[in-house]
Subunit: 335 residues, 2 copies
Amino acid sequence: MAKCGDTWFFEKPVYIRSWASCVGTKEGEGPLGPDFDIVGKDNRFGQKTWEQAESRMVQIACQKAVFKSGLKPQQIGCFLGGDLLNQCISTSFAARQLGWQTIGIYGACSTMAEGILLASALIESGLEKTPLCAASSHFCTAERQYRYPLEYGGQRPQTSQWTATACGAVVLDGEQGKVRVTAATAGRIYDPGISDTNNMGAAMAQAAYETIASYFKDSGTSPADYDLIVTGDLSMVGKDIVEKLFRDDGIDMSVNYNDCGLLLYYVNEQDVHSGGSGCGCSAAVLCARILPELEKGNLRRVLFCGTGALLSPTSANQGESIPGICHLVCLESAV
Amino acid sequence: MAKCGDTWFFEKPVYIRSWASCVGTKEGEGPLGPDFDIVGKDNRFGQKTWEQAESRMVQIACQKAVFKSGLKPQQIGCFLGGDLLNQCISTSFAARQLGWQTIGIYGACSTMAEGILLASALIESGLEKTPLCAASSHFCTAERQYRYPLEYGGQRPQTSQWTATACGAVVLDGEQGKVRVTAATAGRIYDPGISDTNNMGAAMAQAAYETIASYFKDSGTSPADYDLIVTGDLSMVGKDIVEKLFRDDGIDMSVNYNDCGLLLYYVNEQDVHSGGSGCGCSAAVLCARILPELEKGNLRRVLFCGTGALLSPTSANQGESIPGICHLVCLESAV
């Protein structure tokens, strides 16, 4: 059966054929610095506004991913992308320049996993051969939209996360590639009642737990079956909660579980408090570290679990708590 | 071939099994008033804020569509939904209550067509049996987010459109239904350089023309092959431009072409200026008028072409012009 419980098991081969990442200066100074395809000289990428800079990063990452695939740009069947900005403008304005058929998606920081999940389904359907997905975020666009003007210099509590200036893009293919997408679980929305917008890791942790637990049940697997289980982005606070929720079920996640928000930065040295976040965080960690290790065969089987906090400043100001979602894709080395 | 040019031709049967609409008072007073499933007594739907009211409409329309399908709520495989609000909160907060696996999408006013397009592909893939799509908008949430506080009473130019207080929801099915989805074209983004946010019909018209023209080419059909070609929502200004662009190609669209923004209201009497707009406009017109006529066999073959203006107030304030997109689905009577 193609769907079991909440999980799609792909019957046709679905490959990730190529990928690319484009990040800002702070990300370039982090532990993955040498692994990114493009690190900006500054965070403007030659543009006048932060929003245009983020959009430019999407273009750069997409074009680089297509270049690395060896495909011609016109062979990309469709583009699935999203970001954190109101009305997803960094994606739309990039897509205006890129010219591909465009399917806009929104999953907050889970967007990259959502895109891979949908693009994989399009390959399974036989309707698309080589779709492309991307997700982006930019510290400066997110700060002024969600929090305070940069110039205000607001204090950040220790539970807060640092929105990554980053974009990742992947080209999927039904015929060739060194990494396979074998299964995917679209998440349900969970809301543990947290309304502190500086504590989004805690708000998303339950959704991560629920999706991963559903996937374990649907697939009949456990943490020991994976080289790496990675959420993105719960950071320190949320990761601890996920580990505790599984511990309560008698499942030990401590061995091979990590979070993209903790991999992108030197968390203690780079003043990012609880860790990284933003659609671009998990997207860039995927493209800079996880996919290359799968390609080399150093990792054989990875659960990539994108987590999103589905709030807006309006909902937060109205006193609503923060709904969380987690979309999961299972990635396997094909070498 | 499953994909020809930009168009997916579904090889498996894809049906729309049931649908429902939920609208506000002004929409209830329009020409489709008797055709909606639920018309609010007021535009609050028992909620404290306009945003919560919009979210409540999504819940109501989805629950009604599922009820009419005869399926149990837990049989809905996944929910694809989106709206105009920052971070798509009316969809996310509704999905929190509804409990289904949720795939967030963003296509501005093209969202309903985008949802049907993706849900159809999921059925074609064999991964989903009965997905559900919905799209919503609310006049009061859109005004304060995109334009002015309602209390300000800003003057509206004649090219402006009225954001519908409306939601439409459809349940798709791979096995049964009286309306079939036979083809779909995901749009590319076009930007004719218009930066007047009170003239979005003109901004979206080129995208509508391009997608419909691509579809005609891919399918080898012409307007005469359809009982109705309907965009949503270009309203008066944009509809005229689409007709002119086709006239320049020697194609007469005047016989069977209409726009959801002109069908939802008594345009001259209800003070909506150029016509209706908003994700909920085309979604509600689809569910209240187009699908019932296909179900009865009064319409045999319809092109439903959702059009979206992919701007944000931030992009507009930065002087950016307005990118437009159009997603198309071909609907055929199965009776």
